[in-house]
């Protein structure tokens, strides 16, 4: 069979169970694809072909045995499926750099819970993907290892911070991926690369082993080529974990059952603000087109207003750096990671952190340290927390009227590599449409919505807390009606 690397996970699963392909063939096909295009895409920081092939061989044994016993259909969905893991998620025995010089040679002794659960299903780890340093950015341009390239236009960014995943998926260098989303970091790159991504409700997926950027905002989520795969990965990683006190003990259910179910009558809120100032009109046009499709499917569109959305950016840029300033204090060169030797302890700290962190990380540590300082705490951090509560309440109020809120993922199309560095303030504003959901802790899903001048545009669906199921239901119906996600870039 040709081009196995183009398969989705559920397509590959069906073939694997029937014995029409082997996990080793599949993995090898993806590794060959990586070999062919990675030079141009630069999606990965670390590749682990030996580990991948060994896991694939294990999977094949399980398939052979199960087929013999006539129970192949009972095997886990992700057995033998190649997986990319964002390099801020801890993998036992596999270098986890956070795209930072300070962790360039750090090899964790333990797996993140999400990774452990995927490994338990038998997923095959291909390697660790590029990201902005410590997930701080929008484009992977803040990676200490250089930017990844958008397979739809190699001169442009794939988005970020989970840009390596997005580039890898769009270039068929993996079948599935997991990333992290603090203010849009799985959704925005998915939107930029014609992919599906889910930011689950805060507390749905364990953060244990996710290298913390902003603890009250970070959430691990699936990034995939279609909605069905996102549901399978989500089911695998979601659920309570006693090692993460902020993970919620609530049944996840089988969201895959929602796929294909009726969406007629769903009330979809369209916030005026999501189409207002700062939104590229070409992006707005593509998304309006997508909303008409939802309407055709029987959803009832309703214009709503979320006026506090615009405050989510200042709130985010106080809370996230404040938490980050503490979360990143552990990188001191004492126990692991990069250390710059010096004559005194303080000199060692300063040199280690001065050389180990990149400029964006330093910028945020300084911002956060300032916001928490004596005399400023009330004016910044405390005030931001209060506004955060208001934003959360605004969503609660909206969800009394509507079941889902829909709009663009990002206000712009992928920008040329280098643009962000020259426009540091404008680039902060590109988070506008993905930050408020993180602030409020509500789930949000990105699904391909078409193209503007050949560049992907994403549709974002936002749901009630713990109602990922409705997002999957609506996204699946939309996907089946449009098939945008089936489009693949030509990499040259």
């Amino acid at each position: 069979m040709d081009e196995l690397y183009r398969l989705t996970a559920h397509e590959a699963r069906d073939l694997l169970r029937k014995g029409e392909i082997s996990a080793t063939e599949l993995t090898q096909a993806v590794l060959d694809r990586i070999h062919a295009v990675e030079d141009k895409v630069k999606a990965y920081i670390t590749l682990t072909p030996e580990i991948a092939l060994a896991q694939a061989a294990e999977a094949d044994k399980a398939f052979v045995q199960a087929r013999k016993e006539g129970r192949a259909h009972t095997l886990p969905d992700l057995l033998g499926i190649p997986l990319a893991v964002k390099d801020v998620i801890s993998t036992a025995g596999i270098r986890t750099t956070c795209a930072s010089r300070i962790l360039e040679n750090y090899i964790p002794p333990y797996d993140a819970t999400a990774v452990q659960r995927l490994r338990a299903q038998g997923a095959v780890i291909l390697g660790k993907t590029n990201t902005d340093e410590f997930a701080m950015g929008w484009s992977t341009e803040n990676s200490a290892f250089g930017p990844s390239h958008n397979p739809w236009d190699l001169t442009r960014v794939p988005g970020g911070s989970s840009g390596g995943n997005a580039a890898a998926l769009a270039a068929d260098e993996t079948i599935i991926a997991i990333g992290s989303d603090t203010g849009g970091s799985v959704r925005q790159p998915a939107g930029f690369c014609n992919l599906v991504a889910l930011r689950p409700t805060y507390g749905r997926v364990s953060r244990f082993g996710l290298v913390a950027f902003a603890s009250s905002l970070d959430q691990i989520g699936p990034m995939t080529k279609d909605v069905t795969d996102a549901a399978l990965v989500y089911e695998a990683i979601a659920g309570h974990d006693p090692r993460d006190s902020t993970s919620v003990d609530r049944p996840v259910g089988e969201v895959r059952r929602a796929l294909g179910q009726e969406v007629r009558g769903l009330r979809v809120g369209v916030p005026r603000e999501y189409f207002g100032e700062g939104i590229d009109p070409r992006v707005a046009d593509v998304v309006r087109q997508a909303l008409r499709v939802l309407e055709d499917l029987g959803a009832r569109l309703e214009e709503i207003s979320l006026p506090l959305t615009r405050h989510s950016i200042p709130v985010y840029y106080i809370i996230a750096p404040a938490e980050a300033s503490a979360n990143l204090a552990r990188y001191d060169g004492v126990r692991y990671g990069y250390r710059a030797e010096a004559a005194t302890l303080w000199e060692q700290y300063k040199r280690t952190r001065g050389r180990g962190f990149g400029p964006e990380v330093k910028r945020r540590i300084i911002l956060g340290t300032y916001a928490l300082s004596a005399g400023y705490y009330d004016a910044y951090y405390l005030r931001a927390q209060k506004v955060r509560t208001l934003i959360r309440q605004e969503y609660e109020t909206a969800f009394r009227r509507v079941d889902v809120i829909a709009g663009p993922v990002a206000p712009v199309v992928p920008w040329p590599i280098g643009w962000a560095m020259e426009n540091p303030v404008q680039v902060y504003l590109t988070d506008l449409l993905t930050i408020s959901q993180a602030i409020a802790g509500v789930p949000a899903l990105a699904v391909p919505a078409g193209f503007s001048d050949g560049l992907p545009v994403g549709l974002q669906l936002v749901g009630r807390p713990f109602d990922e199921e409705t997002l999957f239901r609506l996204a699946y119906a939309y996907e089946q009606a449009t098939q945008w996600g089936k489009k693949r870039p030509v990499i040259e």
């Binding site: 998620i89 801890s90 986890t96 956070c98 962790l103 750090y106 964790p108 002794p109 333990y110 993140a112 953060r207 244990f208 082993g209 996710l210 290298v211 913390a212 902003a214 603890s215 009250s216 006693p242 090692r243 993460d244 006190s245 902020t246 404040a322 938490e323 300033s325 503490a326 990143l328 204090a329 552990r330 001191d332 004492v334 126990r335 692991y336 302890l345 700290y349 340290t369 928490l372 300082s373 004596a374 705490y377 951090y381």
Partner: protein
């Protein structure tokens, strides 16, 4: 007339909690004899991505302590990050409590310097985690993280203490309470209880407070008393000379007996406290608090009052037995076995305490049981041995673990109460010392004790002293 000064002291105590595991991970908290960095995991080493989980046993120990210190238990409390850099602090922040601590507004009763009861108000008692340890070598330092993450209880008083002695008594009292609860060994010498004092001095009658200094790292009761006394003297001298006190953090140099400046006001940390986002607020139900209240032992003050009431001891005497729970238990068991609380008290605080001091062992390690003491005292009561013999039998019991009856039998110590036998010994003594007999009869009555001693010596102390006295009196006064 010389100006009088008043000293205002508040104490901050850190006590390690005796939980099986650490505060936020499942590593063993029993680190003392472990090789360096063996009680560690991703959480307490602060590996990237590791997250804390609250140790329920530590929360319960804190609530129980709060109850024993007459504190309010907060139904809603919050952990916070205290940010600073140091190699013994792996995360670069300590998880502590700041704005909403678990327990607040309690008190501990002590005696003031005039001997009157006095309440020292407790501002708060909250939970946090211990740091690791640095071992300084020649030109470099080593980090041991076994201690990092061990649960710590921080107990802060209001500035209610007025002298070094009061501070000392407060600490002793606090230690007793913590030990009664079983929440901490509260052993200062081993670092399980650590202490800081905030102190200011002002002329008596002045309304405003003097400049506050903080004395850190007071690691023995003696250090607390000495450091405060020294610092008061130093500050009074400065004030007398018209100088001003600087707001500083001090250390205590026990070998030189003086304080030294560790940090000036300018070098003070801004800890940038903020609520710990990795932990949910701690919610404590009233039912939980009440269930924990049920687990409290009889607390030292209550026990002291009861001993005064039931055993006729003075408060001071009662406290001597009550201060250590094992001693109090031993005492009560002996009273149960024998009765006569006063007599038991005298034997316990006399012979047995002497042995504890000399042998430097705790009471639960001695080889005499309360029942054993009771048996010994009954041997005195029934005339089998006399009081002096009893003392040496007790020594023997402590040394060998044998019971009193066995020792008395093996060594033939039963007292001689056979009147005929003793009478003939008396005759022998009188016959052997005609001079003394004459002098006694001539009016030197002080010799009577000497005759008793002679008889006791002849019987190797076994003679019934009452009988000896009676016989001697009869014969000498003929």
């Amino acid at each position: 007339m010389a100006q009088e000064y008043e000293v205002i002291i508040g104490m901050e105590v850190h006590a390690q909690l005796l939980t099986r595991s650490k505060m936020f991970c499942s590593c063993s908290a029993d680190y003392v004899d472990a090789p360096p960095n063996t009680h560690v995991c991703p959480v307490c080493m602060a590996l990237p991505g590791a997250l804390p989980v609250i140790n329920k046993a530590a929360v319960e120990a804190t609530i129980r302590t709060g109850l024993a210190l007459n504190c309010r238990i907060a139904s809603f409390s919050v952990f916070a990050r205290k940010n600073y850099f140091y190699p013994d602090l792996p995360k670069g922040y300590q998880i502590s409590q700041y704005e909403l601590p678990l327990t607040t507004d309690g008190w501990v009763e002590i005696e003031d310097d005039a001997g009157h009861p006095k309440r020292v108000r407790i501002r708060r008692a909250h939970l946090e985690e211990d740091t690791g340890k640095l071992v300084h070598m020649d030109g470099y330092s080593l980090v041991d993280l076994n201690r990092a993450g061990v649960p710590l209880l921080e107990i802060v008083t209001e500035a209610d203490l007025r002298s070094a002695d009061e501070a000392y008594r407060y600490l002793r009292k606090l230690r007793t309470i913590l030990r009664y609860l079983g929440v901490s060994t509260a052993d200062m010498e081993k670092g399980a209880m650590r202490c800081e004092a905030n102190l200011s001095v002002r002329p008596k009658g002045q309304k405003t407070l003097g400049t506050k200094v903080e004395i850190k790292n007071l690691n023995s009761f003696k250090a607390v008393r000495d450091a405060i006394a020294y610092e008061v003297q130093r500050q009074v001298r400065i004030l007398e000379e018209g100088g001003t006190i600087e707001q500083v953090t001090l250390g205590w140099d026990a070998s030189r007996g003086r304080t030294f400046v560790q940090r000036t006001k300018e070098e003070a940390h801004d800890y940038r406290y903020f609520p710990e986002p990795d932990l949910l607020p701690l919610e404590v139900s009233q039912e939980w608090v009440e269930a924990l209240r049920e687990t409290l032992p009889e607390l030292p003050d209550a026990k002291m009052d009861r001993f005064v009431r039931e055993y006729g001891l003075s408060r001071k005497e009662a406290w001597i037995v009550v201060e250590e729970q094992d001693v109090a238990q031993w005492y009560e068991a002996a009273v149960r076995a024998y009765g006569a609380p006063r007599q038991v008290y005298n034997w316990l605080t006399g012979e047995i305490f002497r042995y504890l001091n000399e042998a430097n062992v705790p009471i639960d390690e001695i080889r005499v049981t309360p029942e054993g003491l009771a048996e010994l005292l009954r041997l005195v009561d029934d005339g089998t041995i006399n009081r002096n013999t009893a003392k040496s039998v007790l020594q023997e019991m402590l040394a060998t673990g044998k019971d009193a009856r066995t020792i008395v039998e093996e060594q033939g110590l039963a007292q001689v109460s056979d009147e005929a036998a003793l009478a003939s010994i008396v005759e022998e003594i009188l016959a052997a010392h005609p001079d003394e007999v004459r002098r006694y009869r001539a009016g030197k009555k002080g010799l009577f004790g000497w005759f008793v001693g002679q008889v006791m010596r002849a019987t190797r102390g076994k003679a019934n002293p009452d009988l000896v006295r009676k016989l001697l009196q009869e014969r000498l006064n003929e």
